[in-house]
Symmetry: D3
Subunit: 124 residues, 6 copies
C-alpha cells in the first residue's frame, strides 16, 4: 500500500462510514474482472483529488453530485447523494442544489435524481 492509496482511504472516510470503507476493499464487486479500477478510484479520485486543500468536503460533494446528475449517471447519483449527506450536507441543501439545476439542464435529469433521492431521504 503506497502513500496515495493510504491517503485515499483516509479521505474517503469523510464521505462513507467505516464499514463501507472496509467493504470497498474487501468486497469489491469488480475485483475479478478489473482489480485495478477500485485501486485507481481510491488512489486518484480520493488520494490525489478529494484530498487537496482549498475546498471543504461539503462543497466537493456538491460538485460531484452536480456532475453525475448532469451526465445522467443514475447509479452514481444515489451513491454521491448518500456520500454528500455523510459529509454534512443537509437534505434541504441537496434538494435546493437539484432545483438550482433545472434552468441549466432541464427537468428530466433533475426529476430522475429526485426520484432516486426520494427513495432514500435520510440514510439510504
Amino acid at each position: 500500500m503506497n502513500g496515495r492509496f493510504t491517503r485515499g482511504l483516509e479521505t474517503i472516510k469523510q464521505y462513507v462510514t467505516k464499514e463501507e470503507a472496509a467493504q470497498m476493499i474487501e468486497a469489491d464487486a469488480l475485483a475479478d474482472v478489473a482489480p485495478n479500477l477500485r485501486k485507481m478510484i481510491i488512489e486518484f479520485a480520493y488520494g490525489d483529488v478529494y484530498s487537496r486543500p482549498g475546498l471543504d468536503a461539503k462543497k466537493r460533494a456538491l460538485i460531484v453530485i452536480t456532475a453525475v446528475i448532469t451526465q445522467g449517471a443514475a447509479p452514481q447519483t444515489k451513491t454521491h447523494i448518500k456520500r454528500g449527506l455523510h459529509a454534512g450536507l443537509t437534505q434541504t441543501e441537496i434538494v435546493e442544489a437539484l432545483l438550482q439545476l433545472v434552468p441549466y439542464i432541464g427537468f428530466p435529469r433533475v426529476q430522475n435524481a429526485l426520484t432516486s433521492f426520494s427513495r432514500c431521504p435520510n440514510t439510504c
Copy 2:
C-alpha cells in the same frame, strides 16, 4: 414588470455588477429575435430558482459552473465563472472545483474550462 421579474433582477445583482444588470435589459442581443428569452431567464432562473432560500449564492454559483462545464457549454462557462467570482468565490475555490471534476467527467472538458478561465483570471 411583475413580481418575479423584479425579484429576478434583484437576485441577479449578487452575481453581476449593476452595469451588467442594466445592460442585460437595455442591450439584449437577442431582443429582436427572441424577446422572451431574456425575460424568461430573469423571471424563471433568477426570480424563481436562484432566489430560493436554503443555499447561499456561492454554492449556487458553484453548482451552475459545474453543470455548464459538464455539458461542455463553452460560452456559459466563462459567464458563470465570472458570476461566481462576483458572488464571492475565490480563484482558488474555482480552480479546485474544476480539478475536482476530473475523475468524474475527464480531462477534456476541465481543460477547456481552465483555458477559458486562464484568459480572465481576475475580473474577466
Copy 3:
C-alpha cells in the same frame, strides 16, 4: 393557486387525461422530498412555455420527444411518447420521427426509444 399554475393545469390537459392531470397533483410521488418540483413543472413548463401561441400541441410534443430521446432520458421518453399520442400524433408519425433521428444521433438511443415504445404502442 396563481394564474400560471391554473394556466399550466389547463394546458397539460392537451397532453394527459383528466385522471392523470388530477393524479399529478393529488399523488405526486415527490411531494414529501421536493414539493416544489411538480409545481415548477406545471407553472413553468406548462403555464409559461407549452401554453405559448405559435406552435400547435402536436409539434410541441414532437420537439419534447426528440429532446428527451437525444438526451437518453429513458423514463421521460415513455412519458412524452404517451403525451404525444394524447395530443394527436399518430403511431406512424412517432415511429417516423424516431427513424428520422438515426442519422443525427445514431442507432443506440433510437433503438432504446423504440423498445420502450413497442411495449405500449396504443395507449401505454
Copy 4:
C-alpha cells in the same frame, strides 16, 4: 449514381436551394480526406430516411433542429435552421421550438442556438 443517391439529391431540394444542392457535390470541402462522407449523407440521411413517407418536410426539419441543439452541435444548428426555413417553417415556429426546449434541456444550449439564429434570421 445509384437510386439512393438520386433519391437523396431529389429529397435534399426540399431543404436547400438548387445552387446549394449542386455545390454540395461539386465543392465538397471534405472530398480529399473523406470522399465517402458526403455520399453517405446523401444516400443514407436523405435517400433512405428523409425521403420516407409519413411525416412532412417541416416536421422532419423541426426534429433535426431539436436533435442538433440538444447535442450542442453548433455548426449543424445554423445549417439545419436554414434548411428548416427553406422547407417552410416560419421564423416564429423556429423561435417557439427553441423556447419549448428550455424546460427540457435548459437555457445554455437554447441561448447558443438563438444567438446563432439571430445572426441569420431571414435567409442566412
Copy 5:
C-alpha cells in the same frame, strides 16, 4: 433482399454467432412497431459501414464499444462487448480499453460498463 442487406448479414457474422444472426431477422422484437429499424441497421451499419475495408473487425468493435460507453448507452454496452469478444478481442483488451477511457470520460461511465461486463465475462 438487396445487395446491401446480403452484405450486411454476411458482415455481421464476424460479430455474432450464426444462431444470433438468424434470430435477428426471425425474432426481431421491434418487428411490429418499426419493421424498418432492423433492416436499416443491417443495411446501413453492417452493409455500408462495418463492411468497408481499411480497418479490421477487432478495431471496429473497439471503436463501437468506446462510443456506446462514452454515450452512456447501457443496453448497447453489453451487446457490443459481446460482439467484440466474438470478433476476437480478448477480455484483457476490453478491460484495458475501459480503463483507458477513465482520464477522458471519468469513472462513472467506465464503472457502469465494467459492472455490466463483470456479469458476462466469458460468453455473456
Copy 6:
C-alpha cells in the same frame, strides 16, 4: 519528479515529438492558473493509464480519438488525431474509424471531426 511523472513523460513520447513533450512542461499555457492540471495529466493519464500493458499505443490512440469525438470535444479531437498519427495510425485508419462512428453517434460529430482533420491531414 516522482516515478509516475517520469513514466508519464516517457510514455507520452509514443504520442508526441520530443519537442512537443519538452514544450508541454516548459510552456504550459495553464501554468499560472492551474499548475497541477498538466502534472495530473502526465502522472495519471500517461503515467498510470497509457503506460499499462495489454493494449498497444495505436489501439489506445484509437480509443481516445473515439471518446473525444463522441463527447463533441473539439480542441481535443485535433490533438488526439495528431497523437494517433504519431503513434503509427495511418490516415486511412483514422478516416475509417470516423466513418465507423456514424451509425452510433450520427453525422454531426463525425463531420465536425473530419472537418478539423481535413485541415491537418499529414502532420498538423
